[in-house]
């Protein structure tokens, strides 16, 4: 009988994730306390967990660590994505405090699930092994399925939950089968060892099919065309604070994992996946933007816009290298602040005791609530890519990287798409500033935490837009060890 060698337990690289999970467990325990009042404490604990994870992430910057036989790789890349995820989760939590209280939902479960899904996202970005990648993805997705349908009074919410669940689980199964085939072709699930095992024979059919199925799964999670069908329904039906989290955090995590898989495990096949992503990027941008034009529901419009933005990020991935990968990371940061802010305004606007979700509801908002209207206008302008806001700088770096890598036509398509997108974003601005409301006016659902979230997001998009250079440098430094 051979002696068992006990693996060393290094919890350091897991610290940010563990903080979030610990806060989740604490929320569950506190929720059991018999006192019915004081549920706001749970929100505070959840926020403290996220902030703690953010601080732990920032403290570990530059110290990359690997743990559990390289299954968890907390390098600068993962840390950067973790920062994005922490911001997304924190903004979404701030937005939801009053939303949850108004809908009298089970707040304990809500906060615990937000923390669990955040932990899944953070682990997903740090996954150095396909098994951890799968587990983290499921931790993230399963919590999100429930969150999407947690406010079950609304039929649309449970409908969104159902669609999200069926299609998400379908995508996960593809991913898992891809993992199985990859394991069969290489004999390992570790990303580094996969790259070593297929060096020089990356056209092994088993490996190609396996990675293809894996990419299908990623296509679902990053909401790329042709795997985007779930996005509009889920974004529309889910509670808006959850939609903000799905649109920002889960997308950031999925892109993080996608970049790691492409640049580490598929290092040898770069020309192949670049050609594939080129097509997917063009389709994703165009379908997202064209479909967004036809929408009258603001949440649905933002859903299609988020598909289009996934397309812009894919442009950065196609460009590849340090500048391409870095630009995608930076874009994720700008996109998170902008989109979370835009959904945040939606959570704060009420009309006739329901959320104001139709574009027409926003007519005359500028007269009644000038600050709120100005905030939404700024977020939409940032989504268009108007300087000096963050969205412009993000697009600038992504498209710049694509041009330098020689993808001129792709850049032309992307720029044309951005111009097309301006139409439907500006339409909302026109409604807010130049139209008179019909029927009951929009009211502001007062929320201190929500206002704080909007302030954070606004500061974020202005700061990133005015002084982008240090953040871009950080993003490029973060992606450097992956692309080499």
């Amino acid at each position: 009988m051979t002696d068992l060698v006990m693996p060393p337990v290094l919890l350091g690289p897991l610290l940010p994730t563990l903080l979030v999970l610990g806060a989740g467990a604490l929320v569950l325990l506190l929720d059991l306390s018999p006192r019915p009042q004081g549920k706001e404490v749970l929100g505070a604990v959840a926020l403290a967990g996220i902030v703690g994870a953010l601080l732990a992430t920032l403290a570990r910057w530059g110290k990359s660590g690997r743990a559990f036989h390289d299954m968890v790789v907390l390098d600068n890349f993962a840390l950067f994505v973790n920062v994005v995820i922490c911001y997304a989760a924190a903004l979404s939590l701030l937005l939801s405090v009053d939303y949850v209280r108004r809908s009298r939902a089970e707040s304990g479960e809500y906060y615990a699930l937000v923390l669990f899904t955040t932990a899944g996202m953070m682990l997903l970005a740090a996954a150095g092994d396909l098994v951890v990648l799968f587990l983290a993805l499921e931790l993230m997705s399963l919590s999100l399925y429930v969150l999407a349908g947690l406010f079950t009074q609304a039929l649309a919410s449970s409908e969104a939950s159902m669609k999200y669940f069926i299609l998400g689980a379908f995508a996960s199964s593809f991913m898992l089968y891809g993992i199985a085939l990859t394991y069969g072709a290489t004999g390992t699930t570790n990303l580094d060892r996969i790259a070593a095992a297929v060096a020089g024979r990356s056209h092994d059919p088993l490996f190609v099919i396996g990675m293809g199925l894996l990419l299908v799964g990623f296509g679902f999670k990053t909401s790329s065309v042709p795997f985007h069908m779930w996005v509009p329904d889920v974004y529309q039906g889910a509670p808006t604070c959850v939609t903000a989290l799905i649109a920002t955090g889960s997308k950031a995590a999925a892109f993080g994992a996608l970049i790691r898989v492409l640049t580490v495990a598929l290092r040898g096949a770069q020309p192949d996946w670049t050609a594939l992503l080129w097509i997917v990027a063009v389709l994703t941008m165009t379908v997202g933007n064209v479909a967004a034009i036809a929408q009258s529901n603001l949440k649905r419009m933002l859903a299609y816009s988020s598909i289009a933005h996934a397309g812009y990020m894919l442009v950065g991935l196609v460009a590849g290298g340090m500048s391409g990968g870095g630009s995608v990371l930076f874009y994720l940061l700008t996109y998170t602040f902008t989109t979370a802010g835009a959904f945040g305004v939606v959570t704060l606007c009420e009309r006739a005791r329901a959320e104001a979700v139709e574009v027409g509801d926003y007519a005359g908002l500028a007269e009644r609530h000038p600050v709120l209207a100005a905030a939404l206008a700024l977020f939409l302008l940032s989504l268009i890519g108007v300087p000096p806001l963050a969205g412009f700088v993000g697009k600038f770096y992504v498209f710049g990287a694509a041009v330098r890598a020689g993808y001129l036509w792709l850049t032309v398509v992307a720029v044309l798409n951005s111009a097309l997108a301006a139409y439907y974003y500006l339409r909302v601005v026109v409604y807010m500033y130049m139209r008179q409301p019909e029927g009951a006016p929009v009211t502001y659902a007062p929320s201190l935490a929500g206002a704080l979230a909007l302030v954070v997001a606004l500061v974020g998009i202005v700061a990133l837009g005015v002084v982008p250079a240090p953040f871009v440098d950080l993003a490029q430094a973060a992606v450097a060890p992956l692309v080499r």
């Binding site: 009988m1 068992l4 006990m6 467990a25 569950l28 325990l29 929720d31 059991l32």
Partner: protein, 116 residues
């Protein structure tokens, strides 16, 4: 050789069954009337769902059972090499069970185990 003849039998059986199903479909006239489409109920009008109604209140218990049941899968291999794992394995399993028990406590205190 036996396998070949068995295979032939299967193929032949499939052909006959297929033909029995397929030929009427090709030849027989199809006239669907409401009376024909009704489920057969011995002269009475069909009044209820054929599967009958069942109490959904047990489904929560069943769902919890699946979860806890599957977690035991991790305990089994641990128990097989428990002695060789020593203290390390013991502590690991206690951490695992503690997390599992947290979930169980939550279910219990929230009233998930009461089915009335």
């Amino acid at each position: 050789m036996t396998s070949v003849s068995m295979l032939m039998t299967f193929v032949f059986a499939a052909l006959v069954a297929g033909a029995l199903l397929g030929i009427p479909r090709l030849l027989a006239p199809r006239r669907l009337t409401p009376v024909k489409a009704e489920p057969f109920e011995c002269g009475k009008d069909p009044i209820a769902v054929s599967e009958g109604r069942f109490a959904i209140k047990f489904s929560t218990i069943a769902i919890f059972f699946i979860l806890i049941d599957i977690e035991l899968m991790f305990v089994w291999p641990w128990a097989v090499i428990y002695r060789r794992l020593g203290w390390f394995g013991f502590v690991e399993m206690m951490v695992f069970l503690a997390i599992l028990m947290l979930g169980f406590l939550y279910i219990w205190r929230k009233g998930g185990l009461e089915w009335d």
